[in-house]
Amino acid sequence: MGSGVTKTSEFNKRYDRAMKAAVMIQRWYRQYVARMEVRRRYTWNIFQSIEYSDLQDQIKLYNFLGYLVDNFTPSSSERNLISHIFRENEVCRDAEWERYFSYANIEVPDIYSGPRLSFPLDMAQVANLAEAFKNKQQLHSRYVLQLLLETWKLLRVLPNINRVSTCHSKEITICGDLHGQLEDLLLIFYKNGMPSLEKPYIFNGDYVDRGKDSIEILLILFAFLLVYPGDVYLNRGNHEDHIINLRYGFTKEVLKKYKMHGKRILKLLQKIFSWLPLVTVIDHRVLVVHGGISDSTDLSLIARVDRHKYVSAMRPPKKSSASRTNLYRPAVYDEMMISKNRRGSLMFPKPLGSRDSFQRRSLQNFSSTITRTVEEELEIRRRQSEFSLSSFSRSHQILNLSLSSESEPDSSEFTNTNNDEWKQILDLLWSDPMSQDGCIPNEIRGGGCYWGPDVTEDFLNRHNLQLIIRSHECKQDGYEFCHNRNVLTIFSASNYYEVGSNRGAFIRLGPDLVPYFVQYQATGMTRGLSFSQSMKRTEHTALKVLREQLFAHKSDLISAFQVFDKEKTGLISLDNWAAAIERVLRLDLPWLVLHAQLVSNTSDDLLDYHAWFRDLALKKPGCEHIEQTLLEALYRHRSTMETIFRIVDTDNSGFITFEDFRQTLKLLSAYLNIEISDEAVNELVINTDTNNDGSIDIDEFMEAFRLVDKSRLERGRSLLKFKQENQDLPQEEQTPQTAESAASQNVQSPDPKTSDSSDPQTADSLDSQTRDSPVLQRADSSYLQTGTSQDSKTAECSAPQTADSPGLQTDSPSSQTSDSSGSRT
């Protein structure tokens, strides 16, 4: 220390200033962190909210079709459409299936440079396969079919309940949802090692949909299953279901990657999915199941069912018409039934536990067209909740009606048992935990139920178990306990909503049955970004999605604003703005907190909403002559629309006939309660029926409904580029392409036709752009399934996140300590 007077006081002064500075920085830092936290939370809320809202669409769709069946007599053609939709596939005997799926006559050309398989498989081949997929190669359809057939043969002899033991001090690794994210699977293998005799794995369902490498994940998992049948266990998830796949992208992916044999592959997968075991039990103590349980779940019953009869959650088992009762009435969700209020519900207590779960949304209000009273509706719902069949019973009924006009050759006896079994399976695959006691139907998902801690306890006691491990729900840290640590959710798809949105995790379980967690985050896209940067990116995407929603509801929003702004001054106060938006969108988001992000000119008092809409700066789809509200409605429901198209396209060709298209739009117009006039339909058709043969390419049609903003612009450019390549037009610079449009690059017919009008078009007019691509129509041409350089070229141009080699990424900065983050609980 200083000895002189001056020195000490100088020192003091400096010290003081340093202290002040430190405190100041610390204060500001903490504020910064708090602000980031808020943003992180609402970003998460936005994604969850939109996801649940989307789930609702699927249910709405089926309810809607049921509503039609009940409430008006469709003309004969419409009726055919509906039964068309719900028609069961022809049930063939096994021998016929084998012949249908025969791969033997599929030739693999010499030029194919992808992996070649020889059966029986061994570990080296599987490792090689994984490596090939990592390098964006594609497995030839011959090997795919062969692999799938072998898998099917194996699965058929597996029981409904896998039984695993941790003897020999083996640690079992348990993985949750993967959803087509190959990067995550490879990361898991990198961190944990591949499956082997010493390293058993359980995969808990949802391998496919949403991500872009679903088929690759399946192939790897099945390959491991074949090599180590005693050490690899696969549970079925709710996405292992061909109807769900229609909506959530797996069907599309397979058809794009395997243009010639995709349909067969899908059909075979349909069977394979139905043969996947339902649950796994470890040491008679730990249950591993994809969704969860209900108060009626009974493992001994589960063990006995014929699981392969339950092909899809949307297609209940056939039932003799005699037992059709009043109980299966249309589940019309009146707005009144479901509380608009965040804080509770008329009929059901708010079942959703943690902040990450969401309240129900109200569904399309059919009340104006239904003459049922509220009391009747309540009664029906109550009765339905007893059976917890909710909306899946709809398709049941429809099926009955559609089948009643056809003769059934195969009428084995179907009883109430079938329905019980079906319900049991639905519960296993679709349920979610809630924090309140009890067990109620899962309205948001439309299947399974919400089950409470008391049900868990009862179930564990009855079956002498100590822990339930499940997946099915995205968790920010990759895993989460609930129900007093009796239920553990494990989710293995990191960055599920968007880059940076969440971590993935897997569990290691040793003989002590204490779960040890390893978290990770695939960082192909965010390598080098700090936490705040990647968080901002996630937020950006969430807000973009939200803006699209706002845009899609423009007309409704303006009407809602004008309720407050009766003189139509165009101005509205902020809290009225927030209230109006919530009323229309019903996403239950903190609009006031978000408003700074959504409204650019944040002046003090009033918001000019017309200017605000202009500011949203999104260009609407290119059919200007079609009425705004119709366009908005179609845009909003585009995913439902697309799903219907794909359902109608039963042979999965990618095309539907003009007539079916018209019928579908008519159905939609009834469903949406809006006018879609014949002229409007014709307009829509003319814009998209490009080869004038009376059939419509579904993808092309949907292209017209992409809003144009920056990222879409890329897609448009890539389409343009593709056409230029085929027409020898002047080249533009290379732009990164998404996997979808890149896949369309694959289609090189042997002799490319020149298109009709070869004006180079700007990406803005996407609709006209899609008109001139005759090559796309030749989807079923003699395109050879090869894993050639073409495919790898495609892969390189695919979405930037796979530009780096996946799977070997370092963890994101925030999880540097991921290995040690494993907590012995």
């Binding site: 006081s9 002040k20 500075a21 430190a22 920085i25 204060r27 910064y32 708090a34 602000r35 907190v593």
Partner: protein, 186 residues
């Protein structure tokens, strides 16, 4: 390191205590606080409050520990000591356990909002200039880390890491004006 060993009869101000603790102030009394927020602002706060509410049944309650975060999220930047004061100086073990609802929160927030010494860009830069040994507009990253972790209301190592991520140049120096802009911009 005890700076205050000897008092000298100096004309300058008496040595201040090293910790930024407000000297002998009366305890915080929420009843005495006049709420001056507008209804709109209050709605806004409610929205944010909701975001922090982690109760399973959405009771509109947050823990004591979250109170500071919420106040900061709403644009204030109190010190930890100031937050503890409005919370009524709770014990450490209470922070994660005790809850408050929105009505209890509002006067706390109002009090903090009224506090004068909020700090501007200039203040912040001035504060950092203290560490600018060479007077060239940069500070040593290592020194700053050390200070933040050891002085004042100490930050944890990973917090410091997060704050400083990407800020240092190749020599380990930070241009502090840019740094301040970065932190204040959020």
């Amino acid at each position: 390191m005890a700076p205050k060993k000897k008092e000298e009869p100096k004309p300058a101000a008496a040595p201040k205590p090293p910790e930024p603790e407000p000297p002998k102030e009366p305890e915080f009394n929420p009843a005495e606080v006049q709420i001056e927020f507008t209804a709109e602002q209050i709605e806004d706060f409610k929205d944010a409050f909701q975001l922090f509410d982690r109760t399973p049944t959405n009771e509109m309650k947050i823990t004591f520990a979250q109170c500071g975060d919420l106040i900061r999220a709403l644009g204030q930047n109190p010190t930890n000591a100031e937050v503890l004061k409005v919370l009524g100086k709770p014990k450490a073990e209470d922070m994660q356990v005790k809850m408050l609802d929105f009505d209890q929160f509002l006067p706390m927030h109002q009090h903090i909002c009224k506090a004068k010494d909020r700090g501007t860009f200039e203040d912040f830069v001035e504060g950092l200039r203290v560490f600018d040994k060479e007077g060239n507009g940069t500070v040593m990253g290592a020194e700053l880390r050390h200070v933040l972790a050891t002085l004042g209301e100490k930050m944890k190592e990973d917090e410091v890491e997060q704050l400083m991520a990407g800020q240092e140049d190749a020599n380990g120096c930070i241009n502090y004006e840019a740094f301040v802009k970065h932190v204040m911009a959020g």
